[in-house]
Every structure is written in structure tokens, then in C-alpha cells.
């Protein structure tokens, strides 16, 4: 199956929307080493525009980002009118504790959830390898 092919060769593309430079640097490095192509964007609005081009298999989305929150980006990407036919998997990356209603939104709309403070780059790579492509 082509999907399996993609996953096993790790040529999938990742968009990392993250304003913490050190984090994105570490993630980009680890993911690149693992065979992913990585694009980093630190601004919410620009990140959304990039994501809407639908050229990424995986989107790592931080919640605390400039110009537009991660939750808004997530809602726009999952809104069929604003972003039709998005095939990307969206993984929320955050350190924040979520209020219940936000948590429910994330559980409904995102494909994964990661606590950055509890995961090292190596573990991120392993985590993503379990995603259905």
C-alpha cells in the first residue's frame, strides 16, 4: 500500500508551527534525521496560510503562537468552508493545561496531542511513527 510505503520510508512532510525557536530547532533536527522534510513557521496567521496549501502530511501545532492562537488555526483548518479537503494530520503540541471545553475541541478536531515538556525529540519521532499516514 502506498500509505505504508510513505510511512516506512519516512519521506512525509511536516509543518511545525512553533514560536519557540529552540523547540522547533530540536524537532526539525530530529525529524530531518528520521527522514521527514520539515518546514518551520513561528507565526499563527502565516502558519494557517501555509497549512491551507495542504502540502504537509503532518502539522505540529503549538497553541501559544503570535497573531492567532493554535486553537483558532485548528478551527480554521477543520472548517470545511475555510479549508476544504485538508488531508494533513494535526498534532497539537503544548505545555498548557487545557480547560475542559478546549480539551473537548482538541479531542474532536485534532489527530494527536503532545505535552512538549514531557517528550524529547527522540520520543517525538517515535510518536509520529505510529500515526496512520
Amino acid at each position: 500500500m502506498p500509505d505504508d510505503q510513505t510511512a516506512s520510508t519516512r519521506s512525509a512532510s511536516v509543518l511545525c508551527i512553533e514560536d519557540e525557536h529552540f523547540i522547533s530547532e530540536l524537532y526539525a533536527r530530529a525529524l530531518t534525521k528520521a527522514g521527514y522534510t520539515v518546514t518551520v513557521e513561528l507565526d499563527g496567521q502565516k502558519g494557517l496560510e501555509l497549512a491551507q496549501t495542504d502540502q504537509f502530511d503532518i502539522i505540529l501545532l503549538d497553541l501559544m503562537i503570535p497573531t492567532m492562537t493554535g486553537i483558532e488555526v485548528l478551527k480554521q483548518l477543520r472548517d470545511a468552508d475555510a479549508t476544504p479537503h485538508l488531508h494533513s494530520k494535526i498534532i497539537i503540541t503544548t505545555n498548557l493545561e487545557q480547560r475542559d471545553e478546549v480539551r473537548a475541541d482538541i479531542e474532536k478536531q485534532a489527530d494527536g496531542y503532545l505535552v512538549k515538556a514531557e517528550i524529547t525529540p527522540r520520543e517525538l519521532v517515535e510518536f509520529l511513527s505510529h500515526l496512520d499516514a
Binding site: 529552540f22 523547540i23 530540536l26 494527536g112 496531542y113 517528550i119 525529540p121 505510529h130
Partner: protein
């Protein structure tokens, strides 16, 4: 009764007075008649001499005739109505007495009348004091509860109702635990104390500090000191009296301190993650290329960063526990694998201290239902403690087996300094650490408190056995997954498979 004794005395005095007076009136009457007045001095002298002589000789006779019999009769009357008469005396019949019929009859009548009045007075007094007691208890600003032998609330005062945000009528007849969900800071709870004193004492009192009342609704949590008075043979079916002293304001300051620390510590998480990330990058780049010494440094750096991460997580979790925000996602896990994986993270830290971790994990353990992140923190805390308190010992034993109750029991044993018996009961208390060791051994005193909270939330128990100079064993139990499965009904999350540090929404199992 006191009252009755008093008035028996009064009647006796009255009786004597009447009898003596009666005699003298009779004599005086005789002397003072005209006939006597005309007697000469000799006669008068004789009369004066004769009267005492006569009186003296007559007195025994008089006393038998006028005193002993009627007094006996009256004493009988009093005994008859006395509430605590040893043997009920038959009711006296004053009319059958030979002498002084009227007098005695009157007196006995008096006794009955007085007794009736006294009885009414006592009753009125009792009713009055009951009224007074009710008034005092009812208006006591301290919450007060009276419990019977089944720990059912017999009475709750206004203050208790107000404190628990209930109506007094909603409280009486209910089991105290149904109304008050209390958390005690140490092993000895009200319940364990009560079952202990029931066996050994007729009466007992005890007090607890920092008891937590877990609210059943959205109201903030209350903290108080609790005083209990136990009396096995108390009247009115009351076995235990509870008094609550609210200290919510004072005690929650500590909690606020924790919240503040948690807020600050939260900011440490990102830099820490970065540090660990970069260390990891180093390890990747330089694997096999470093000198043994540099390798060792890298190793220690990594272990230290991990330790700091564990510390930060502890603080944050305590804040969550105190805030009732500790959410567990229980999933089926292979326990041996979880234990090894948790302990592996610590092997590094142990190695730095020259300690080896030994495992003894029983084969074919049933799977357990655990929240992986939280339960790993428990193992982390226990092993970390074992490392800290190992002293010169060089090994720590980690074991897991099925116990006699069918629970999965895990133990962490060190061979170090041990814990004095007197501090063991406080060990799982927040901020508690052995004061003697405080200077030498670092730590927040939160690890065991947190571990207990997590294990309790899993439906297990945590315990410790220790001997000074020989070391300590900390153990905890977990329920097999099969037992928990019925309780875990989280249909909403069926599609979400949770991992140690996040979740992925699909069907490929994310298990590490």
C-alpha cells in the same frame, strides 16, 4: 435525691421541735394555772427540781412514744418515695400508729406533698437544663455532630449544618461518611481510631489536624481540625461526639503556596525540555566518539536533567491533586514492562550513586489498569527515595508479584538508613520529611504524598515497612485490569489511544 435528703432532715427537725414544744406547753400549762401560782416557794422549787427530773426520766418514755415510732413511720414514708430506695418499703399507714396520730398523719401528708413538689421541681429543672443544653449546643458556633454506634448522625447542630451546607433534617439518620467525605493527613483516620478504641477503651478522645472535607458540589474545599470524644456507655444512644474547628483560611495558605510554586515551576518545563533535547542531540552526535570520562559527564548531565524534570512534575502534580485536577486515564498495561521502563529511567541516577537496581518480576502477572504517566511517577518517587536513603548500600530491589488478595503488589526495597518507627505514620503527609535527615538529604517532601494520592486514585494501597539501620520497603497494590474493566467505561475515548505523553486518534496502538 440530694433535695430529698435535705428535706428529710428538715422534717426531722420540725418533728423534734413540735414534740419538745408540745411537752413544754403541757408542763407550762400545768405550772401556770392559778393553783400553781398559789404554791409557796418550796413547792415552786420542788416543781422546778421535779420538772427536770420528771423530764429526764420521762424522756426515754416520751421519745419512744412520741419520737421513735412517728419518726420511723415518716422515715418509711420518705424511703417509700425515694427514687433510689434500696428495697421499696411498704407504704406506711399513719392511722395505725398509736400515738400522735394526727401529728404523724399530717407530717406524712407533708412528706408526700413535698415529695410531689420536689419531683415536679426536679422534672422542671431537668427540662430546664435540657432546654439550656439544647440552646447552648444549638447556638454553639462550632459544628458539632453526635453519632451512634453505627456512625449514624443522631444530632447535628446549626453550625454543623451550615458548615456542611445542609439542613439539619437532611443530616440526622444518615451515616456520617455519606455526608462528610474526609481526607486525613496521616494513616490514622477517624475510622481506624474508632475501631481501635472500640476494642480497647471505654472512653477516649482524639484530635486530628488538617482534615480535608472534599466537597460533593462545586464549593471550595474546607480544611479543619477535628476533635472526637468516644464513650462506650453513653446514654441516649450516642457513642461519639465530633467537633469541627474550621481552619480553611490558614491551611489553604499552604495550598496557595503550592499553587504559586506550581505556577513558577511551570515556567521551568520548557527550558528543561530543551536542555534534555540538546543533551539528547549530543548523545546522538557523540555516541562512541567520547572519552570514558566525557561519556560519564554526559551521562550525569542527562541523569540530573531527568531528576529536575521529575521534581518539576511532582510539584505540578501536587498542585493538581490539591486542586482535584488529577485526571487519570486508566488503560490496560503489561505491568512488568511498565515497571522496567520506569526503573530504566532511574538506572542512570542509581548508577551515578553506585547503586544497582535488581528486579524480581513474577512471570504471568495479569495486566493492570493504570495511568501510565502517573504510575511511572510513583515508581520514580519510590526508587528515587530508595536511592536517596540508601546510604552506603549498593543495591535496590524492585519486585512485583500477585499477592494473596489477588492484587498486583509492587515493592521497592532499599538496604539503607531506614525510618524511625515514630515518623512512619506521617510519612505520606505533605511536606513531611525526617527532620534528622533534612539537612543531608534533599527533596520536597511531596513525593510520597503524591504517590499515595496517585495510588489511591488507582484504587490501590500504599504502605511502608522499615527498620532503622536495615532499610525500608515501600509497597503498593494495583487492581488487575480485568477487575477494573467494568469500572472503566469511557466510551467517548474509545477511538483515542493514549500514550505516556500524549495521544493519537487512530487505531494503531500507541504503546511504549
Amino acid at each position: 435525691m440530694e433535695y430529698l435528703h435535705k428535706f428529710t432532715g428538715q422534717i426531722r427537725t420540725r418533728l423534734f421541735a413540735i414534740i419538745i414544744l408540745d411537752n413544754f406547753i403541757f408542763l407550762a400549762d400545768w405550772f401556770l394555772t392559778d393553783k400553781v401560782m398559789h404554791l409557796n416557794g418550796y413547792m415552786l422549787l420542788a416543781a422546778i427540781v421535779v420538772v427536770p427530773v420528771l423530764t429526764l426520766t420521762l424522756l426515754p418514755w416520751l421519745s419512744t412514744r412520741y419520737l421513735a415510732q412517728p419518726t420511723k413511720l415518716i422515715a418509711e414514708a420518705i424511703l417509700h418515695i425515694a427514687p433510689d430506695a434500696p428495697n421499696p418499703v411498704p407504704a406506711p399507714n399513719p392511722n395505725s400508729a398509736h400515738f400522735g396520730k394526727e401529728l404523724v398523719a399530717n407530717l406524712v401528708h407533708d412528706v408526700y406533698q413535698l415529695a410531689t413538689i420536689a419531683d415536679q421541681a426536679t422534672k422542671a429543672k431537668a427540662a430546664d437544663s435540657e432546654l439550656q443544653a439544647n440552646f447552648i449546643i444549638g447556638n454553639l458556633p462550632l459544628p458539632l455532630l453526635l453519632l451512634d454506634a453505627k456512625q449514624t448522625i443522631v444530632y447535628a447542630n446549626e453550625a454543623a449544618a451550615k458548615y456542611l451546607n445542609l439542613l439539619p433534617a437532611d443530616m440526622t439518620g444518615k451515616e456520617v461518611y455519606a455526608i462528610m467525605d474526609m481526607s486525613f493527613p496521616s494513616e490514622q483516620t477517624f475510622d481506624t481510631w474508632l475501631s481501635d478504641v472500640r476494642e480497647h477503651n471505654a472512653t477516649a478522645t482524639n484530635a486530628w489536624e488538617r482534615v480535608r472535607l472534599n466537597p460533593t458540589d462545586t464549593r471550595p474545599r474546607q480544611l479543619f481540625d477535628l476533635a472526637a470524644y468516644y464513650n462506650k456507655d453513653n446514654s441516649n444512644n450516642i457513642e461519639t461526639i465530633l467537633v469541627l474547628f474550621d481552619h480553611t483560611k490558614a491551611y489553604s495558605q499552604d495550598d496557595q503556596a503550592i499553587s504559586f510554586i506550581a505556577l513558577s515551576v511551570h515556567e521551568l518545563r520548557t527550558p528543561l525540555t530543551l536542555l534534555r533535547g540538546y543533551i539528547e542531540a549530543f548523545e546522538d552526535e557523540f555516541a562512541g566518539k567520547l572519552s570514558p570520562e566525557m561519556n560519564d559527564f554526559m551521562f550525569k548531565m542527562s541523569a540530573t536533567a531527568q531528576q529536575l524534570t521529575a521534581f518539576v512534575n511532582n510539584i505540578l502534580n501536587v498542585a493538581r491533586v490539591d486542586d482535584d485536577q488529577l485526571v487519570l486515564e486508566l488503560h490496560e498495561e503489561q505491568w512488568g514492562e511498565v515497571v522496567r521502563s520506569a526503573a530504566n529511567n532511574l538506572a542512570l541516577r542509581a548508577k551515578v550513586r553506585g547503586i544497582t537496581l535488581e528486579y524480581s518480576i513474577a512471570p504471568n502477572l495479569p495486566t493492570v489498569g493504570v495511568d501510565r504517566v502517573s504510575i511511572m511517577e510513583v515508581i520514580n518517587n519510590l526508587v528515587d527515595n530508595a536511592i536517596k536513603y540508601s546510604g552506603k548500600a549498593t543495591r535496590i530491589r524492585i519486585a512485583a508479584a500477585l499477592n494473596s488478595e489477588g492484587l498486583v503488589e509492587t515493592t521497592v526495597q532499599d538496604f539503607g538508613v531506614g525510618i524511625p518507627a515514630n515518623i512512619i505514620p506521617n510519612l505520606f503527609t505533605k511536606f513531611y520529611r525526617d527532620h534528622h535527615n533534612r539537612a543531608q538529604i534533599g527533596g520536597t517532601g511531596l513525593g510520597l504524598y503524591l504517590s499515595r494520592a496517585i495510588i489511591t486514585a488507582h484504587g490501590g494501597n500504599i504502605w511502608v515497612k522499615s527498620k532503622v539501620g536495615e532499610g525500608s520497603i515501600f509497597g503498593f497494590t494495583l487492581q488487575p485490569y480485568a477487575k477494573l474493566a467494568d469500572e472503566v467505561k469511557n466510551s467517548d475515548n474509545k477511538e483515542i489511544v493514549r500514550g505516556a505523553h500524549g495521544w493519537i486518534k487512530n487505531h494503531s496502538l500507541y504503546r511504549r
